[in-house]
């Protein structure tokens, strides 16, 4: 009895603010609801409409490119970061705290620092490129061919410390006896990595990768504050496009349909993550 009493508030929170909104999102996506208007049931019309919309299909492609691109940068860099922080280095504590900064500072604020570095007239990146004689500078967020690279880079920059610090926690949980044993067997640095470090951090890597994929697929902050999905929708992802449709243009029903198309992918990742964690705890 006491058990039910104690979990009641959380259940209320979960049902009232997660299950109900989710139901509401589903039902809204089946209506022609606009902000300030009454909803009318229209069946799957919103889904048909968005499917015929080329911007929506581009947003799907962009979401995939953005997610895969960002992970391809942050996973290896984060792994290297964890490896070097796991070595006996000077000022290790200071390094470990400092490199965490990109991940803990509010995303939209650090994105502002990047936006200023990407600035059309006073970009410090272009200043460096020009002064090193490497070229004439890049229109980082205003060139449709470059903008996707820029937003991906900033998202990856935020994610590197997350991989680094969780993988480091995994590496430090490896008993040093294992390393000593392999050292006695005459294993080199590379062999130690392949036969001890890699297999033993693999579980944490999988968990981190799943968490990070969920967060990257649904990232809104970085793209919204750097490009708003532009120029010419070249960085438009499902998160920014559903926001623009639902609250920018006021078409709530259509916006809900756009955001819900992320759901199957997120659900699959979520089920994998939960199963993986509960299996390991059992």
């Amino acid at each position: 009895m006491l058990g039910y009493l104690l979990v009641a508030p959380v259940v209320v929170v979960v049902v009232g603010f997660l299950a109900y909104p989710f139901y509401l999102a589903l039902s809204t996506s089946l209506t022609d609801k606009v902000i300030g208007g009454e909803p009318h049931f229209v069946g799957f019309k919103n889904y048909e409409t968005i499917w015929q919309n080329s911007v929506y299909r581009q947003a799907i492609r962009n979401t995939i490119v953005f997610t895969l691109g960002s992970i391809a940068i942050k996973l290896p860099l984060g792994f290297v970061l964890a490896l070097v922080l796991n070595e006996r280095i000077r000022f290790r504590k200071a390094f470990r705290s400092a490199v965490l900064l990109p991940w803990i500072v509010p995303a939209v604020l650090s994105a502002m620092a990047w936006l200023w570095m990407f600035n059309g007239n006073f970009s410090v990146l272009n200043y460096i490129i020009v002064h090193l004689g490497l070229g004439r500078g890049v229109r980082w967020v205003t060139d449709p061919n470059v903008a996707m690279f820029s937003v991906t880079l900033v998202n990856a920059w935020r994610g590197v410390p997350f991989y680094g610090i969780t993988l480091l926690a995994g590496m430090q949980a490896i008993p040093s006896e294992l390393y000593e044993a392999t050292a006695i067997d005459g294993a080199g640095r590379l062999q130690r990595f392949r036969h001890v470090t890699l297999p033993l951090v693999m579980p944490i890597l999988v968990i981190t990768l799943l968490l990070s994929t969920i967060a990257t697929v649904s990232d809104f902050n970085v793209i919204y504050s750097l490009t708003g999905g532009g120029p010419f929708n070249s960085t438009q992802v499902l998160a920014t496009y559903s926001y623009a449709t639902a609250l920018g243009a006021g078409r709530m029903g259509e916006g809900a349909a756009i955001s819900l198309t992320m759901f199957p992918v997120l659900l699959a990742l979520l089920v994998l993550e939960v199963r993986y964690l509960t299996r390991r705890q059992a």
Binding site: L81, S97, P106, A113, W157, T166
Partner: protein, 278 residues
Amino acid sequence: MRTGRLGQTLVYVPLVLLTFFLLAPFYWMVITSFKPDPELYSASISPLWVWHPTLDHFGELFSKTAFFTWLVNSFVVAGLATGIALLFGTMAGYAMARLRFRGSGLIGTAIFATYLVPGTLLFIPMYQIVNQLGLLDTRWALVVVYPTFLTPFCSWLLAGYFRTIPGELEDCARVDGCSRLGAAARITLPLATPGILSCGIFSFTASWNEFLYALTLTTSSDQRTLPLGIVATLLNTDAYPWGKLMAGALLASIPVAIVYSFFVEHYASGLTAGAVKG
């Protein structure tokens, strides 16, 4: 382990390069916030250093913008949301760890799963719900909404933490005449302080950094929290906002940076607690 010159290079070169990559934008943020406008928008002065440092941008932030109001809002919202999340999270975490009741396993899994549901999926219905509650465009909307993503994480993390504290300690107290809750409050709760602290840090910074719900649910400047206030207001109203923007970003980042620098250890272990202990 023995490390030769080659080993040293293999470690320090990537370390320095990565640290540079990760911290360079902050260097840029800091020096921009101290540069006078003529220096910021000049093509002839090297931008890599501050030649005539000034505090003007910080002053203007407080005298010409609603920065102080956003700061207060951020503290109010993050503080209250954290309090709610800790209270509910401790209750549920304790119940899941200690009390056997039908459906406790299912509730535990459901709670963890909801923590992973991103706001991007829920901001549209949340707008409708907050509208029905009459809280649209108030900071109270955020106080109500933020615990929805904080509480599940806190419950889950604290349940794991409570499991590491031996139940026998409570049994002893109950033999000596304590009630179930009395024993929990006097024995288990104090021992769980590090776990509760981790949850508090997580909740506070997650609320402090949240952007999408704040953007969706508040439109008046005096209801906004810091990140939104800085980005939405400064970027749109000032032709050359970069000095003030970076000064604001710097000030708004300091509280979370301080909190984390003290608790990195806790945080990393808390984050992977479930995984490492498996």
